[in-house]
Structures are given as C-alpha cells and as structure tokens.
C-alpha cells in the first residue's frame, strides 16, 4: 500500500547539536538520523560539526571520526571499508550508496545521513533487512545440478560465463531494493531489484538445470511484475550493476518462452 506519510512513531524530531571543539576553520555540518530503542522516544536528527582538515575522504571515515572523537553512542554497520562487504549501505545526500566508497567531497552543503529507506530501524543507521534475506532465500540462490560426479569439473563456455558478468558482482547491500518506490509500497510481496537480480543470476547460469522451475516460480504479478522500470535501482547501485535490466531480461524470457 502506498503510504506517503511516516507513521506517528517515526516522525523525526530535532536532536542535539554538537559544537566543534577543535577550533578548526574548515568545518562541515553532518546531520545524522538517530533512534535509541531503549527510551521510547521518536527518531531525531543530531547535528555534528566536524573538523574536515583531519578527516579522510569517505563518508564512512566521517562517521568513524564522529564515533571516535565526538559521540561514541552512534551505531552503524561497517566491515571491510572497501566496497566489498556491503555492510555500510545507507542513504547519503538523498541517495543510497556505500558509505565507504562515497566521497564526502561530492556532497554539496550539509551532509545528511539516513538509514536505508523504508526499513524498520533497529538503532540509528541500522535497518532491519530480514524480509529481504527471507526473499533471497526464497529464490534458492544455489546451483541445482543433478550431476553426482565430483571428480570432474562443471565446465562452462566463455560465452556462457560472460552472461554472469554484471550479475555475480552483486554484494547484496540492499541499496537498490530500498531505493525502489515499488518495494517501499509492496516490500512484503514484491521481491525487489536485489533479489530479482540474484534470481536472474541463477536463471541464466548454463550449469543450472532448473531454469524452467525458477522462471515459473518468479513469474508472479506481485513478485516480479511490480517492477515499473522506475530505474532508481540502477541509479543507486554502488557497484554499477543494472538490476532494472536483469528484471527486464526475466520478463523478456517469460514472454518469449
């Protein structure tokens, strides 16, 4: 269901203001979404003044600096810091992306940081992705092959292998799914770009023997056809992949088979 307004308990309030204590002249304001599960209050936006002279280039560095030097209570996910694990996916400057690969110099004005859109917040910048993971499980993202012989390689031609390019690189950071308005309104039923890209990755794999079953499973008014080619997913993908194209390929396969 389309619900434009946030529910009552999600309305954002004004938060604390952390003034700069270093006396630096190169200062930027960073607005961060905060929600503390322990006190029952509404979410708030805290503003931090950050000394940019002693801050490395990425938004994640900025958050680390805030956590280390200004406010240790701030919570966010991060791990590899090299755009490989997909933990630090968040909404920066109105666009989803990985905090570890997004340079804060690209952002003009104050830096606004929110959790990934339309998720249940667990704390501060951490959203609950369990629905997405369940949907991922539902497409059975593993190779289905009846060959029992484990002494031989499962060969694939160069041409067949190249079909997986632009699909296997997906790190499941959920930037695309949470950028999709269709997924906002029908997230419980529509699979979303991330999961559909993964579904296509197994459908198109020449070694997989259950292409027909996989296609049949995904061919559903709500699961697949809620994609209206809004293209927010492709705009958001921090790895430069094209979920919209993958979804269109599934639709095309269904229409022509």
């Amino acid at each position: 269901m389309v619900q434009i307004n946030l529910p009552k308990n999600s309305k954002i309030q004004k938060g604390k203001y952390y003034k700069d204590k270093t006396g630096s002249k190169n200062i930027r304001k960073v607005n961060v979404y905060r929600w503390d599960p322990s006190n029952g209050e509404n979410p708030r936006i805290d503003t931090y003044e950050v000394d940019m002279d002693n801050c490395p280039s990425k938004v994640l560095d900025l958050l680390n600096k805030i956590k280390n030097e200004i406010d240790p209570s701030i919570a966010y996910r991060r791990s590899c810091a090299h755009g490989v694990c997909g933990s630090c996916a968040m909404n920066m400057d109105g666009k989803n992306g990985l905090a570890c690969t997004k340079s804060h110099k690209e952002i003009k004005g104050d830096i606004n940081i929110y959790p990934l859109p339309h998720l249940r917040v667990q704390k501060d910048l951490i959203g609950d992705l369990s629905t997405l993971y369940k949907q991922y499980e539902s497409v059975e993202p593993w190779l289905k092959n009846s060959k029992k012989d484990e002494t031989k390689e499962n060969l694939q031609s160069i041409e067949d292998r190249s079909k997986l390019d632009g699909l296997y690189e997906c790190i499941m950071c959920a930037c695309c799914s949470t950028s999709c308005p269709s997924y906002w309104w029908n997230g419980d039923k529509y699979l979303g770009p991330a999961v559909l890209l993964q579904a296509y990755r197994w459908i198109i794999d020449s070694r997989d023997e259950e292409r027909k079953e996989r296609l049949k499973k995904v061919a559903d008014e709500l699961k697949l056809y809620r994609c209206h080619t809004i293209m927010n997913c492709t705009n958001a993908c921090p790895k430069g992949l094209n979920p919209a194209k993958a979804i269109a390929s599934i639709k095309k396969m269904l229409a022509t088979s």
Binding site: G94, K95, P117, L119, M231, N232, T234, K245, A248
Partner: protein
C-alpha cells in the same frame, strides 16, 4: 520486527531522478487520460442529442478554463505516447544503460511539450 520500531524515512528524503520523475508522470497522465477519454465519449454522445449541446460545449471550450483543459489534455496524451514508446523499447531489452535512460527520459519530458505545441499549431491549420 516489532511494530514499535520506527520506519526509516523514504520518499521524504529520497532524491528525484529523471527516470523516477518520468515514471510517476507516466502514471498520473495515464489516469488523466482515462478520465479524459471517458469525457470525450460523453461529449460525442451529447452531440447526438442536438445543436444546443454542441454550442454549450463549444462555448465552454472558448473560455480560459476550457482552453487550459484542451492544452493540458494534449500534453497529457503527448507525454503518455512518448513515454509508452520508451517503455516499448525497454520491453524489447534496449535502453537500460543509465546514460541512455536519462537521455530518453529528457526526450520524453521536453518532447511532450514540443509535441503539444506542434499539435496546437497543427490544429490552428497553419500547415494546411
């Protein structure tokens, strides 16, 4: 997840892209067009009932509001047609690259206005 956890902001904070703008306009113009087509059907049926009805509606179309509705409808149809052509290419599997989809999106937006002007001039009989 428990319901008392807040929902993170979505449409309130998310940036608009060309593609999302064209997409929402495609929907809105689609709904407008259905209403307009229904009204056109009523209009045609009314004409069958005689000359008085024709003049009544003709007079309405001469007013500012009437002209606005006619031009607005022309734009709405122009937008829908161009956007639908874009969707047809997508259905064939072309035009998904970000750059191309941005260009085609801009073509739809500006093209709809150009097409509206073109149809308006054509309706004035300048080309005839």
């Amino acid at each position: 997840m428990k319901d008392n956890n807040p929902l993170s902001p979505h449409i309130q904070i998310y940036d608009w892209h060309i593609s999302s703008l064209v997409s929402i306009c495609h929907r809105i113009t689609g709904i407008i067009n259905i209403v307009i087509i229904t009204l056109i059907c009523f209009w045609v049926s009314l004409l069958l009932l005689g000359n008085a009805n024709y003049e009544l509606i003709q007079n309405f179309f001469e007013t500012f509001l009437g002209k606005f509705i006619i031009i607005g409808t022309t734009w709405s149809f122009s937008f829908q047609i161009l956007s639908e052509i874009r969707h047809l290419f997508w259905d064939l599997g072309f035009g998904f690259e970000l750059k191309i989809s941005n260009i085609t999106g801009l073509i739809v937006i500006f093209g709809s206005f150009i097409l509206t002007i073109f149809i308006f001039i054509f309706g004035q009989g300048i080309f005839l």
